[in-house]
Symmetry: none
Subunit: 403 residues, 2 copies
């Protein structure tokens, strides 16, 4: 999985995309030996996030299963969410004595101080039988997870603008769980407030005339859905290798074990040799390895198509150098979760190329892996949610519909 | 938008389609510089009308949004329909003293006389608080529009056969609006009857022994749906340039302004130079111009593939002569709303070619724009409803789903 691998042509690359411009003989060889196509992660012209894109390409329709930002932010922070958990994104904020939010970002408090505050808050483990987890992410941001008989039908506590009062949580439906969640949340935030008011970090900030971080403002409640596991769908022992927590988390949520590759960072300077070597080693113990490489997306977000092309060449070399299939019955698939345009630095809705190569896979006339050549392959244009079925069927792991 | 541009091969063109046979170097150059594909306006093998085809290609699923013939006939007659308006197609008919329809088309009364009759009928502006509009179209046909608290759940007044009694309107559901609409409609038609019986046109016809047009028979009630505007979907300032009222009307209904091109007639003798020049001028003031050209469809309805090919060559020349993009970040799309077969003169369900060319658009290996070459392009085969998303995404105007 080459994150954000699809792109648009750019002048820097003489009107080519990074994939078209890169020298990737090994990957092109796989394209030549297999079948090719393009994938709309969700639908033509619909730009997706890494979260919705991954859900879809793992076979889970995000229009049905995507629980919103909160849960995926928590997964990205390394929280192992369970089905039913309700997660929120949170800001540290400054509030005055009348509960009016005077600064939604607490003077953009730095990661170090915010981390210390969250560490103290995380001592609150439970409110009225509901399990509580809070985890710092970056700067004034953190994630809050409630586990138990809770609901995501609660209003945002964040008023979304400065100089408005704290919007204490209200239930958004008539259910017992929503009412209870709002009560627990309000009680928890008052507890947090007490801890924060007297916290050494805030005493120091107050002394220095800085905005204090004396309130936590949750928003975007989302409930983690019950995703049927890959194992239940395909009887598959699967694992994920990735640098960034989000991808490990999503894959773990659908039942993959996490295999750590030394030096995998989720950046352009990740240890690609380690990742490929770890992947091929793991194929001795698992049926399916999901190997995620983030740098392609990062370079495009930086509007740097040349670096994206060069990184693709490094991937090609590392893949080739470490290529070591565990058996003759090996199938490899290469694709992306979405297009990231090096022109704008944004995710866009263009389709991404896909290749599948190996045992029992049809061989078409395509000899290069990119946005244009792959589209002429025998796979045509597919939806993201179809890919896992196609792969599992090639591995003879699907069940017949009908007799 | 080249109306009915898709076609089937014919002997007259040595087994080629009009697009394959035409010399269209400019359009082929755009194909070569961009990406290509084919579109099923609604679904493979489903022939669509100009109304349903346009709705779909503008991004509105006609299975969800198409209100039937009445409203689109009214739009085609130049009535600016609002959401909620109920429209009917109508015939002038001859009825006897017992309300039996003796001629459903009033002796196929000519356009001139029928126009005079409708002019008198149009003086009735309101019945019981419901606003009434009637507009003549052609020969014995006109459209009737009711505006207010009305419903389209009313039965046809037209008995659909001669020698049956007038089928006075009945509500088709239990709603207050349906009951009221039936009452208003019956009251209105009796008013019309009075005006028609004593109208000079009918006195003259009676004197000449011709069938009198003493009744209006509405049918096909349809309620104009609330179509979310292009602006609300994509934050887009858009305009339409077209000869025929139907296309201006449909585009106006989804929020496009109407820009008039001098000499645009919606026929084979339209002023193509004026239309292209007006379009490129308008691109200085609008984000998106929808340019509609009708002649391709007309020639195919006349079963004249040679004229269709020649008209395509004229389009190519006019497009080339007036091509004047407003900026480097210009994107052009060429497609059709459906296939019109020059063999049968009918709309058919074959896919239509599509090309998109310009800033940030992938460049594939296709070098000709037609039903066969375009199908080998990087876009593959899309549904009509996907096209606007694809275009708006290429213009970076779509919103990300997920994070």
């Amino acid at each position: 999985m080459l994150d954000g691998v699809g792109d648009r042509p750019s002048k820097v690359l003489n009107g080519l995309t990074p994939l078209q411009a890169a020298r990737i003989p090994f990957i092109n060889g796989l394209a030549r030996a297999g079948m090719n196509g393009v994938i709309d992660p969700v639908a033509p012209g619909v730009p997706v996030g890494s979260d919705t894109g991954h859900l879809s390409i793992l076979g889970y329709d995000p229009y049905k299963y995507y629980p919103g930002r909160g849960p995926f932010e928590a997964i990205g922070a390394g929280v192992r969410l369970r089905a039913g958990d309700v997660a929120f994104r949170c800001n540290f904020a400054s509030v005055d004595d009348n509960d009016v939010v005077v600064d939604r970002r607490a003077g953009r408090i730095g990661s170090q101080e915010a981390g210390q505050l969250v560490e103290s808050l995380s001592e609150v483990k439970e409110i009225d039988g509901v399990e509580v987890m809070i985890k710092h992410t970056v700067e004034h941001r953190s994630v809050l997870v409630l586990r138990g008989e809770v609901s995501d039908r609660v209003s945002d506590i964040d008023p979304h603008k400065d100089n408005l009062p704290v919007a204490w949580a209200r239930p958004l439906d008539e259910s017992r769980e929503a009412k209870r969640t709002a009560e627990v949340l309000n009680k928890l935030l008052k507890r947090y407030r007490e801890i924060l008011e007297s916290h050494p970090v805030n005493l120091r900030r107050r002394g220095q005339g800085l905005a204090v971080a004396n309130m936590v403002l949750p928003r975007g409640a989302g409930r983690m859905p019950n995703l049927p596991s890959l194992d239940s769908k395909y009887h598959l022992k699967a694992a994920v290798i990735a640098g960034a927590a989000l991808y490990k988390g999503v894959c773990n949520t659908v039942g993959m074990e996490i295999v750590e590759a030394p030096g995998a960072t989720g950046t352009l300077s990740t240890d690609l040799n380690s990742k490929f070597k770890t992947a091929f080693d793991a194929l001795r113990s698992y049926d399916f390895i999901f190997l995620h490489i983030k740098g392609t997306d990062t370079a495009a977000h930086d509007k740097d198509p040349l670096t994206k092309a060069q990184f693709l060449e490094k991937i090609d070399t590392a893949f080739s150098d470490n290529f070591d299939p565990p058996s003759e019955e090996f199938i490899v698939c290469i694709t992306g979760d979405h297009t990231t345009s090096s022109l704008t630095g944004e995710h866009r809705g263009d389709p991404v190329p896909v290749l599948i190569s190996g045992y029992g896979v049809r061989v078409d006339h395509v000899s290069r892996f990119n946005e244009v050549d792959s589209a002429q392959g025998a796979m045509g244009r597919l939806r993201g949610t179809d890919l896992m079925s196609v792969l599992m069927d090639l591995a003879n792991k699907t069940e017949k519909f009908g007799e």
